[in-house]
Amino acid sequence: MGIELLVNLTYVAAAVLFIFGLKMLGSPATARKGNLVSAIGMFLAVVVTLLDQSIIDYKWIGLGIVLGGVVGAVVARSVAMTSMPEMVALFNGTGGIASLLVGWAALYGFDPNSFQMVTIVLSILIGGVTFTGSLIAYGKLSERMPGRPLVFGGQRIFNILLILGIVVSATLFVVNPDTIAYLYIVVALSLLLGVMLVIPIGGADMPVVISLLNSYSGLAACAAGLAINNIILIVAGALVGASGIILTQIMCKAMNRSLSNVLFSGFSAVASGGAAAKIEGEAKPMSADDAYYVLEAASSVVIVPGYGMAVAQAQHAVKELQEILEKNGAEVVYAIHPVAGRMPGHMNVLLAEADVSYDLLLEMDAVNPRMETFDVAIVIGANDVVNPAAREMEGSPIYGMPVINVDMARNVFVMKRSMASGFAGIDNPLFFKDNTRMLFGDAKEMLGNIIKAFG
């Protein structure tokens, strides 16, 4: 009794630490400490759980912790900042599969009542969907899989049947817990559902998917907590589940789309293509030297980074250019679109890596009203988030999405590898505007050439 009380009181303390930790993650000045606070909460919860009297043998626990700890630490230390999105997706997946396994193992510990059977099935279902969904997201983000939506005829019907199958087999299992075959069917179908839910979603919508999967992994832990009657799992899981949903909403709002539109529009994308008006005109390329002359005379510059900056690893070169321009007397700020890159806040992390002060990173709403006052807007590897078609062309698939209005700056430089369209596969009229000049080539190289011209 004494130990059980100690365990539960420590769980309360851990919950407090998680809450403070999340709160502190909300401000750049305290964020790092907040992460530490929440890690201490986790440590406490784990250590006190080891005192639990139902634990007889520690060798398997030790094995699991050492194995997982080494893998986690090595991966966390070695991953490049540019591949952070796929990393987060992978970690998400491991959390999901762990909840699935916990739910499954809970079947053997005690005689679950029907409420617990339901929660066990839920943790298996959500955990399974999180696991395979995250793996697919990882595949798309790391470009091991095509980023385009994968669709096939009858996909919608297939998915409906799949969900029906899950409901039926899950119900059968809850009613007949002794027929283990139903469990295997639930596990298999859940894993399949995770795949089916993410493959029709295009790479450009991945920020939304990652935050949604993040939410799922919390909900899976929460369901596992209900299954094994563990309060800290319920509290922490629900916190993560709720925060993931909030982030998902913020992302959807940034793209002016509803969540269901993001999740299911892949199905209709095939049909509606080609309806948009043709864009006429000629893109005007320029050299690094020409860019230098304009930048040398500029007194205010806004830099708009996108995923291309991450691909080219150009963040340090960007920072160098910023310093040169500042020394030259110009004001330099960064405009960050909420869904620039492959996960929310991706650009901020990369620029922070390059030592750019975070108060220079402005959000879209802060920059757009004063866009006319900038002498030069430099777009580095961004495409859809600066596409004026979102404002001007009603037929465009991204019409209505809030974008950074770089075309309203006096001059626009677009750094791009080629004329190919962006991740969303939409033409960009920005490239044909009178005040736009194209700098074709690798962003890092191109920035280096401009910096050299200053030297």
């Binding site: 929440s38 520690y58 396994l101 193992a105 510990g109 919390g218 629900a238 991706h346």
Partner: protein, 96 residues
């Protein structure tokens, strides 16, 4: 009663989660996500009992696997978040 009690905790936690995250600046969305992702590794606590309780051989195997997976989530998640946040700096005036 037990179910009602759990449902209460669940509901309050969800509301708290909404409130905590609602006002976070976009700059911190990535670390926030990986930080909260690490918290979802709390499922490790559940995995520990499964792995150590010796209910059945299958439960031990499932539990051990769960411990390993959840530990990857926890350790990796916290470390990677710390790595990112260590880079977030504000320039102090002219001091370079």
């Amino acid at each position: 009663m037990e179910i009602v009690f759990l449902a209460f905790i669940l509901m309050l936690s969800i509301f708290l989660g909404f409130e905590l995250i609602n006002k976070v600046p976009a700059t911190l969305h990535t670390p926030l996500m990986s930080g909260s992702n690490a918290i979802s590794g709390i499922t490790l606590v559940g995995a520990l009992t499964s792995a150590g309780a010796e209910h059945t051989q299958l439960a031990t195997i499932l539990g051990t696997l769960a411990v390993a997976m959840a530990t990857i989530n926890v350790i990796g998640g916290y470390m990677v978040t710390d790595r990112m946040l260590a880079m977030f700096k504000k320039k102090q005036g002219d001091a370079k």
